[in-house]
Symmetry: C2
Subunit: 387 residues, 2 copies
Amino acid sequence: MPHRRDFLRSAAALPALPLLARRAAGQPPPDVVSFSGLIVREAEPRNLEFPFTTLDRFVLPTERFYVRNHFAVPKIDPADWKLKVEGAVEKPLELTLDELKKLPSATRPVTLECAGNGRVFLTPKASGVAWQLGAVGNAEWTGVSLAAVLDRAGVSTKADTAEVVLEGADQGAITADPKSPGPIHFARSLPIRKARQPEVMLAWAMNGADLTPDHGSPLRAVVPGWYGMASVKWLTRLVVTERPFRGWWQTLHYSYFVREGGLPVLRSLSEIQVKASIARPALGEVVPAKSTHRVFGAAWTGEGEIARVEVSTDGGTTWADATLIDKSVKYCWRLWEYLWKTPDRRGKYTLMARATDSRGRTQPAQRNPDLRGYAIHHVIPVEVEVR
Amino acid sequence: MPHRRDFLRSAAALPALPLLARRAAGQPPPDVVSFSGLIVREAEPRNLEFPFTTLDRFVLPTERFYVRNHFAVPKIDPADWKLKVEGAVEKPLELTLDELKKLPSATRPVTLECAGNGRVFLTPKASGVAWQLGAVGNAEWTGVSLAAVLDRAGVSTKADTAEVVLEGADQGAITADPKSPGPIHFARSLPIRKARQPEVMLAWAMNGADLTPDHGSPLRAVVPGWYGMASVKWLTRLVVTERPFRGWWQTLHYSYFVREGGLPVLRSLSEIQVKASIARPALGEVVPAKSTHRVFGAAWTGEGEIARVEVSTDGGTTWADATLIDKSVKYCWRLWEYLWKTPDRRGKYTLMARATDSRGRTQPAQRNPDLRGYAIHHVIPVEVEVR
């Protein structure tokens, strides 16, 4: 998709370049919704954020869905592409896209959230892409279950520690990190137990259309309940291993610490933590005094479901229940709203939202530094002005 | 030791401050050999390098031995100090220094090398302390075997994966790394197999005297054959674990990658890699033409012994055997020399040394980037001038 990439580069440099000028430059008319709608956090590799203040529906269109790329988008011809399945399997496989599409498929909505979503709010500043609230989105994915593909190859290990490594075609040298290894592919593993869950998909379609290059065409993983780094894009290889895979993106990156007997121990990031985010009012928004103003957002969690969202309009002193909208869909965000009777007294007010899930987990008030720059799910205040 | 610390700080700022001025400033007369002899790589925490060009003997005096500290030197009163032994043990222990000294002790020479020794030569530049050649030294250590202490506590796990975590009193926040966890202690583990080897010591003395604060007083580990980070200083706790310990200093730091089936997999640094370093002539030294000039250095390895050192005086085109000096002592460096018939023709010449150990391992010519900033043991050229 050279046109889209050129356009993006121009859009980053010249956000206001008019349509006619683009046409004169030989570029296709841009999809205005797509690119004017996403915030460029990094131009190359492309890291684009959904402006969370524009949240307005359960399923986001593809062009409004955040993009998290670690390397340049690999150029893949779907006709030449195959998925290899190897390692501790009885029958190593190579599957074409047509062969995959002949397996029983399903379509399901799944929310993906980047593990670094919210990082821009951390103090001290953490390294990594400075996402605000919108490295999250909910889309409909179509594909085959990973379990079905593993069954065809026949997993030959019974080890409790077995994992499936998912490798992408995206690769390169990690120039930004002076302690990185030589050139590598993006890769991430799942414990065999999670890999066998029926919700874990190898998807070729998003929102009813073939995956776009930015979203992992021709095939990507979709791992419901886990942070987005597990949903490896541009899949080329599955490797079944006997022991946990200690790859770059689950040791030096996308990892955190837990304290065991006073000793901080590294863990690979996995499950999404419970979180509510306020879409509107936006930070600094002016809200009319003595009115009823809608506070609106979404909440999501990992393996459970959202049970409750509370809102505070006084900086966390008091909390009231928000209304959960529609019915709960597992592994999806849930929209919520709260009708705020705004005060007579003008001035700055601090709004907060706090979610609790069906397992009783709730958001912490303070950041735990052992999470490093990931799983940012403490309550983030939104200061607004009542006038 | 506030005096020493104050002195060091002054020394870093004012390396040429004369002795009389120091006395006038109320500072003790500095130990000139100690501090003029070490290169300050970082003043706080203290990271001091042995100038490798001054190598002149098998056992280095303590004041010429490199210092690698991760945090400020902890203040410990040996009378109050105890070593805790806990985790998967039958009988958790607390041992005083006197109790430890009553166990059978031994004195043995051991070479320690920092895993980052030689980092200053890496391109692209790696993060971490910019050691040249001298983050290595050989000293005599006195203490009890770690195995004897573990036997007293009675290791209660039979797991193959069992480890012993060694925790130091040194602690703090890792402010230089924006992805670090909250405040932690220095800690490092050994697989139970290595921990039980008789050569692994808990040492209270170095070169016949109590450990100095910089070298881990009152008790440190000495792990022969492993890079220095395993020889935890200021020991306060041993924790036997069932599973491998994934602490900060063996995952994000002091770790490297190996390729398994094309997948880069993280490993904790452990064994010292075979290496020869040239002490003299020094980089840029002027050497007389048409003479016999002594090329001199040391070579060391991990679990094996040094079998051979070769020298090249033409940038690696031809190699000749160096002479190994004295007899081999396991886990110690071995001094070597080569009598170079210097050429008639004046100009720049590139010297190289290359060691091979008793297991047939030899130094690579090129750096492997998967080693990140560690285990720097490729051949490092020394350019000299023949005049």
